[in-house]
């Protein structure tokens, strides 16, 4: 017997088991094959094939589809051709139907000869008709399907313990005999075991938007639709064993649909006289002349090595395609930057895909592409976010809609989403669910219960784990299952043949065509993925250079002013260098040049941090600790990073030099280390490393110590090439910040949301750096923040939250025809809505028309809501008091907020001996201090010891302060940071000065002001 009608969790919010779990169970039960038939989806088939290959059973790809009349039909692919037919039919259904409700005409399936059809569940056309007591319609439906799938159609006999099963089976069987259609047993599997029924039922409730107490015809009645064992199936069909025999016959007609290792790479369009290899060679050497001024010696050797590898692995077309994309961007003036390990390639550098010279930096090409690994190269490109879709359009236009599509993401249940969805379905009050959800840190959904006691903010929750018992069990049960499909931010596949033969296309929420597979699955299918990412920093740079054109082509990496700014830790607003951890590092590190920035970007990563490498790195760099090597062969590899492992390339080099691995094998080791999921797996990798190292003459104890060093780092770090690529962009922002801060901050504020900090903090930092701002003004503000002739940054219309691009354009167009003389004139000529007009009033944009904002608001209501509702404003109506004007302004602009709050309470705080931030920053090392401010961005980065260290910031009217709370404080008072934090948080603590950095180490957190409680 073989299960032929099986739903996995890719029947979203319905199936309760992953394809992998289904395959594991099927193999355990001794089934020779397993089909997967998710609802109008083949998202699970790659996982099915992967798992089946490993388990040694045969995968059968399929889907349960919906026909135009809403009836269900189970389809099984007899092999690759049938699968291609299924994909074509699903594409037609998805692209031709309302999104989320794909239906296909039967005619789309008639021509697909590689498909076997089963009559489906109770929603199948014949079953539905019989349940409606229409034997005639049932017969007609079966006859039509039989004729559409000659010798490939079966009637499904499901014995799911439902009322009416016996009568339905009798009716179907009678018709099947009458029409000479064979019958087959089917269990319509939705979960692994009978006991898992509740998960299936609960997911169904989530899908239907109901609670478990509510009745709904779509809810399953019982737990009989599980993966029956052969014995259970034999018992269920004991009176008709031939129905089980039919499952074997069908399975024998089906071959696996996918074969891993096929290549569906695109071909680059070239005239017949040219080969992709020849063309790549020509372009590379032309580029080498521009980049290096020569093509001989080391340059020539390196390029030859890379080109031969690229040619032998068959990736010349891929490089040409990427080259074509970046040259399109260059022609169109679209700012871009190559990132990732592609910067390890001199060919990519010569093709101007990347800006990092891998020869000068001695970067390993094998980290990017190696013969042993023979994996697809991964070139990630960042584009100005405003133009990224234009670049994608270029690919669609050049290669055709049939060959290009976006990549999906499987959005899986994590702690927060699971608590939200399942809590609601289980009938927990919404307020309780929100309260728990708000307090939850980022966790896998199955770790909530076990880690509850580790988080004080959860312990302080008004709802305890006992009350949540069932919810937490439910969260654990759905952990990691897909909840919905999303769209990958940048991933695109481009295929040689028609995409629909291997992957159905469907529309994303944004309307873009995507394939319903994630980035791993598309590669397993044989596609090459392109990452065209959006980066707002590139748009900000583009805007900033319009104000500061003299810096556009300046060599930022060598600008001493830029380096000095970073060394002072004044990195707020700088790409990759602005997080609190980076600012603290810069204050301690005192960067001296470009290489330091590369190191800094690489060191604030989980690998080096968990590997406890930050401290040794800084001490050794400052000469306070001796640089030592466990083996002299490590010196050339680790010398530039003071003996610590910072980069992925170093892991590879160590494995090569000490472990005797080839570069490709070494990268494999690095990857396995990344994905090792258990201590045993890691230990086994270690044994292999140590064995090979000792065989090569390394002392065993030393080899073990070296492996421990690599293990600490694993590979949660950057490749050096990637860090260097980011460092270039980082220093561009640093140069602008050092030389033309008004240009940088105006550009950053214009491209929100971006970066680590909200606008009001950027404004505060800009002002601290001497940038002056001019207020929003209907007569002068442009769409974006703009630097005016007097050097002031004029707030842009884009800052007004409720005013969209259309509103901005309406204002600018009308203003071009003449200044606005009154609110009525503005409203009449722009057609702005009441909300938009009121937002402009509160933002202060109309102060030049009337300084009394309250009177203007009154007029705005009168203009748009009618005079009857809003009588004319009394001429002597008083304006809002100053504090109210500020608050209203903050609400629409998002500027001035927290700092202003602190101004209001400063006198009270002073009375309690609480100092403002600016004063604290001037105190001596180890000074005891009390400070208060608005809490900003509390977070708990991973630490090697597992102990929690909480970092957070306080903001007041004088600036920002970094603080740290260690385990003891966090355990007692963490709720004030991550749970129910007060509007103004107070901290007693001690000033810590390291280098130029200032932090306060918290000893106690407190609420300095009585909290207003709304009853």
């Amino acid at each position: 017997m073989v299960h032929l009608h099986v739903h996995s969790a890719f029947s979203l919010l319905d199936g309760a088991a992953s394809p992998e779990a289904l395959v594991r169970r099927a193999a355990e039960l001794g089934f020779p094959a397993l089909a997967l038939t998710d609802h109008s989806s083949v998202s699970g088939v790659v996982a099915l094939h992967r798992a089946a290959l490993q388990a040694g059973i045969r995968p059968i790809a399929g889907a349960e589809v919906e026909l135009l009349d809403g009836s269900h039909l189970t389809l099984l692919a007899m092999g690759p051709d049938g699968y291609a037919g299924l994909c074509r039919a699903l594409t037609a259904a998805h692209l031709g139907s309302t999104r989320g409700r794909p239906r296909m005409p039967l005619s789309a399936l008639r021509r697909e000869e590689g498909l076997i059809a089963l009559s489906g569940c109770r929603k199948g056309a014949a079953a539905r008709a019989l349940l409606d007591r229409s034997g005639e319609r049932a017969e007609e439906a079966l006859r039509t399907l039989r004729d559409a799938f000659p010798n490939r159609f079966y009637v499904e006999v499901q014995r799911g313990g439902l009322p009416g099963d016996a009568a339905l089976e009798a009716g179907l069987s009678q018709l099947a005999r009458h029409l000479s259609i064979p019958e087959v047993a089917s269990c319509d599997v939705h979960h692994l075991e009978r006991e898992d029924f509740w998960v299936h039922d609960l997911l169904t409730c989530v899908r239907l938007g109901i609670t478990v107490d509510e009745l709904h015809p779509e809810r399953p009645l019982n737990g009989e639709r599980y993966l029956l064992s052969p014995q259970e199936a034999a018992e269920r069909y004991r009176d008709r064993p031939e129905l089980l025999g039919a499952t074997d016959e069908i399975a024998a007609r089906c071959a696996p649909a996918l074969s891993f290792g096929v290549r569906l790479y695109p071909s680059f369009p070239l005239p017949p006289t040219k080969t992709p290899e020849g063309e790549l060679r020509r372009l590379t050497y032309e580029g080498a002349q521009r980049r290096y001024g020569r093509t001989d010696g080391e340059v020539g050797r390196r390029l030859e090595h890379e080109l031969r590898t690229i040619e032998d692995l068959g990736f010349a077309d891929y490089f040409l395609l990427v080259w074509d994309v970046v040259h399109f961007a260059q022609r169109e003036g679209i700012r871009f930057a190559g990132r990732g390990s592609a910067a390890d390639s001199a060919v990519a550098y010569c093709l101007e895909i990347t800006e990092v010279d891998p020869i000068a930096r001695r970067l390993l090409f094998e980290r990017f592409l190696s013969r042993e690994r023979a994996e697809r190269p991964d070139i990630d490109l960042d584009f100005d976010h405003r133009a990224r879709d234009r670049v994608a359009d270029y690919l669609f236009r050049t290669y055709g809609e049939e060959h290009v599509a976006g990549v999906a993401t499987y959005q899986t249940f994590q702690a927060r989403s699971a608590v939200r969805d399942l809590g609601k379905a289980l009938g927990f009050p919404e307020a309780e669910v929100k309260e728990v959800q708000r307090r939850l840190p980022w966790l896998p959904a199955d770790a909530i219960a076990e880690r509850w006691d580790l988080f004080p903010e959860l312990q302080a929750s008004p709802i305890g784990p006992q009350r949540l018992g069932l919810l937490l069990r439910a969260c654990a049960a759905v952990a990691g299952l897909p909840r919905h499909l999303g769209t990958h931010l940048g991933g695109l596949v481009v295929s040689r043949g028609a995409l629909s033969d291997i992957a159905p296309r469907q529309r994303s929420a944004k309307g873009v065509a995507i394939v319903p597979f994630d980035k791993v699955d598309v590669e397993d299918l044989g596609f090459l993925k392109f990452d065209l990412l959006s980066l707002r920093t590139l748009a900000a740079l583009d805007e900033a250079y319009k104000t500061a054109p003299e810096l556009r082509d300046a060599r930022a990496a060598e600008d001493p002013l830029a380096i000095e700014l970073v060394a002072r830790g004044e990195t707020l607003g700088l790409f990759q260098l602005e997080s609190p951890a980076q600012r603290a590092l810069q204050g301690r590190m005192g960067a001296r040049g470009f290489e330091d920035i590369v190191h800094a970007i690489a060191i604030i990563r989980p690998g080096p941090i968990k590997g406890n490498m930050v401290g040794p790195y800084l001490r050794r760099r400052a000469g306070k600790e001796e640089v030592s090597y466990l083996d002299p062969r490590l010196r050339p590899i680790l010398e530039k990073t003071y003996g610590v492992v910072l980069f992925q390339e170093q892991v590879i080099e160590i494995a090569t030099e000490i472990g005797g691995f080839s570069p490709g094998e070494a990268d494999q080791l690095r990857r396995v280390m990344t994905h090792a999921r258990s201590a045993r797996e890691m230990a086994s990798i270690g044994e292999r490393f140590v064995a090979q190292a000792t065989a090569g003459g390394t002392d065993e104890a030393v080899a073990q110590e070296i492996f421990r060093m690599l293990e600490g780092y694993a590979s949660y770090g950057f490749p050096e090439a990637h860090a260097a690529a980011f460092a270039h962009t980082a220093l561009r922002t640093a140069q602008l910040s050092a030389r033309r801060p008004e240009a940088l901050f105006a550009a950053l504020l214009s491209q929100q949301p971006m970066g680590y900090y909200p606008p009001h903090i950027l404004v505060a930092e800009a002002m601290r750096r001497g940038v002056r701002f001019a207020p929003l003004d209907i007569a002068r503000s442009e769409s974006l923040y703009r630097v005016e002739a007097d050097g002031r940054v004029r707030v842009g219309l884009c800052a007004v939250r409720s005013l969209g691009p259309q509103g901005e354009q309406a204002i600018l167009a009308a203003r071009g025809e003449g200044p606005f003389r009154s609110l009525a004139d503005l409203a009449g000529r722009t057609g702005l809505s009441t909300d938009e007009l009121q937002a402009l009033v509160d933002a202060g944009a109309l102060d030049r028309l009337d300084r009394n904002r309250r009177r203007l608001l009154w007029q705005a209501g009168r203009l748009t809501h009618g005079r009857g509702l809003f009588p004319e404003a009394p001429p002597d109506i008083p304006d809002f008091p100053a504090w109210q004007r500020f608050w209203r302004q903050e609400a629409v602009l998002g500027l001035r907020g927290p700092a202003h709050l602190m101004l209001q309470v400063r006198a009270q705080l002073q009375g309690k001996g609480i100092r403002p931030v600016a004063q604290v920053r001037r105190l001596r090392h180890r000074a005891e201090v009390s400070v208060a401010g608005v809490l900003f961005r509390p977070h708990r980065p991973p630490t090697r010891s597992g102990r929690v260290v909480a970092f957070f910031m306080l903001e007041d009217e004088t600036g920002l302060l970094d603080l740290v709370a260690f385990e003891e404080v966090y355990r007692l008072q963490g709720d004030l940071l991550f749970g129910d934090h007060p509007p103004v948080l107070g901290v007693h603590g001690r000033v810590e000065r390291q280098g130029r950095g200032v932090t306060v180490q918290a000893r106690e957190l407190f609420e300095p002001l009585p909290r207003l409680r709304v009853q």
Binding site: P163, A166, D201, L221, G223, E224
Partner: protein, 81 residues
């Protein structure tokens, strides 16, 4: 037409679980099992599965009998006119 009863009843059953005889006011002997199905209980309240039998009795009545697989108790849930 049917009528909700929902009363615990004593039932004699076959080895495969099907009812033969039950007592509700009078004694009723099952002549035919018309339908059998299985229902999940309110699992969120800790309740288990139930097996439901729609039966015809020798007296010509039609009844629904529910067997709780966890508590192993019978309930007469419904009678049909």
């Amino acid at each position: 037409m049917s009528r909700l009863v929902n009363r615990p009843v004593k039932v004699a059953a076959r080895q495969d679980g099907a009812p033969i005889l039950f007592r509700y006011r009078d004694q009723h002997r099952v002549s035919r099992i018309l339908e059998v199905w299985r229902e999940a209980g309110e699992w969120w309240e800790g309740k288990g599965d139930r097996q439901v039998y729609r039966v015809e009795t020798e007296g010509g009545g039609v009844f629904e009998l529910l067997f709780d697989l966890t508590s192993r108790n019978w309930t007469l849930t419904r009678s049909y006119d």
